[in-house]
Amino acid sequence: MTSKPQRLSGIVGVGMTRFKTLLPASFWDLIQEASVQALNDARMEPGDIDAVVFAQAPDPLHGLGHPEYTAPDFLPMAGKLSLRVHTGGATGASAVQMGDWLIRSGRARRVLVVGAEKMGDNVRGAQEVLNKIWDPPYESALPLNTITMTALQACRYLHQTDTRIEELASIAVRLRGNGVRNSKAHLRKPLTHDEVFDSPVLAHPLRLSMVCPRSSGACAVVMSDAEGAPSDDVAWVRGIAARTNTYFMGDKMGDCGPNDHGRQYETQLAAEDAYRQAGITDPAKQVDVAEPYVPFVTQEPMTLESLGLCEPGESVRLSEKGMWDYNGKLPVSPSGGVLCTNPISVSGMLRIAEAAQQVRRKAGDHQVDRADVAIGAGQGGSIQFSVVSVLGTTSSLANA
């Protein structure tokens, strides 16, 4: 029996609400629901927590100014260390990374990482908020938002890999089919191949069927040092790394080398670092299941290739062959992923939480067979922030 690794942090509790555009609960109701669930799952009391990391992306998306100020009255934060993290869509994953740092540095023994989103409360102006990612003098007057940013990415990826947008239909069908299996997912209706292309174009080549919803809901994870982690019910953070990229999309074109807007170079660098930490030398063979960050169908091939799960340009062909299917050799987004559920502040945390649940064999209605080693990743900005984590069972450490 492999002994517990003294130097790693482990995810020992997970909580998540269901996800919909509009939820009747308040922001704080959701935060508490997820936190209580995670603490119960970890078999811990609020008093066991040393630090709270609060995952929250832009305030204007949910409309509460500085919720981290209010948080101490709704969470076990009083008298403890607490920090807010914000890296756009990567926020939830960056928050888990902070939890890992706190524990591995010896500064904390048990950390509660939590966040919520209430995008459905926004009645008008969500894409306007996202437009503000872009620089006032040079770009915010242009119609840049996450839809057009992604369409420009897709333009380059499809051109460089000589792929037609029609070939990506199988990705949408697969991810939406996975959402049906997950009782907490936001979108739970399957899509047929024809429905993918009957859907209206938002920004060429991106159609509505290829785009995530605006979700409300909350997620929490409890992380622990080795002493507080039961060896048969933990997802060890075997590796976690982050990289930041340039804000200028135009710099990832022209003489950009590998840092192309049609690729995810920062994801590749973060993944290489996380694999090095985890002792993973052949991710395509050694990773059992992946929860990458894919809010738009066109990003899946880019991200799977950057994660080293297949050769560049190969992801779409492998998708059509069923490689990434729920019952495939390397299931991708068995939860339905970000395409089915995107509460921006916590989507990155949900990826790592879903990966953790697979490893702990607690994914229930969407558990996959083999899940000793799992990836959970988050991305944010004009894609500037990327976090990649490698989680594993205690027994998986013997092969590291």
Partner: protein
């Protein structure tokens, strides 16, 4: 100002953020935006990595070295690096469909984004006949500049095959 309302049994609290700002354009952007009035695209060269950065900025963020003061004129023509045609109506923007392109001006290492005009956008199946990555495009400057990025737009060069 908040109000409470009841909608099918649920109490909702209304609130609104209506914020307006006047931002400083900054040292580099001011120089670039003023040059647009003269029908010129400027770029800043990095003395270390030798990239010619457009839009220009005071520091190369890769090297974190001050870019040279000897800014270079680039373009006005260049190569299309990415484009899209927007069909969804986004609040506050012009009525769709309209094009957006990132074009690398001749002499620059990076691409500069702006609206793309002059194409028939009604049939997306044939858009590939009119524009592709690698097409040539040229900056067209307005007669009444306002020192904003909208003082120019991109147009695909006339020798491309156009749909009717």
């Amino acid at each position: 100002m908040t109000q409470a309302s009841t909608d099918s049994g649920q109490i909702k609290i209304s609130s609104s953020w209506a914020l307006e700002f006047e931002h400083a354009a900054g040292h580099a952007a001011e120089r670039f935006l003023r040059a647009l009035s003269d029908g010129v695209l400027l770029a800043s060269p990095c003395p270390q990595c030798e990239r010619v950065l457009c839009p220009p900025r005071d520091f190369c963020e890769r090297c974190f070295v001050r870019t040279s003061d000897d800014w270079q004129e680039v373009g006005p023509s260049g190569v299309v690096e990415a484009f899209t045609v927007v069909h969804a109506a986004f609040e506050g923007y012009r009525k769709p469909p309209y094009g957006v392109a990132y074009v690398r001006p001749d002499g620059a290492s990076t691409a500069l984004g702006n609206f793309l005009e002059g194409l028939n956008l009604s049939d997306l199946d044939t858009i590939g006949d009119a524009i592709a990555i690698g097409s040539r495009a040229t900056a067209v400057f307005t007669d009444s500049p306002q020192q904003t990025i909208l003082d120019f737009h991109w147009e695909v060069d006339g020798d491309q095959e156009m749909t009717s």
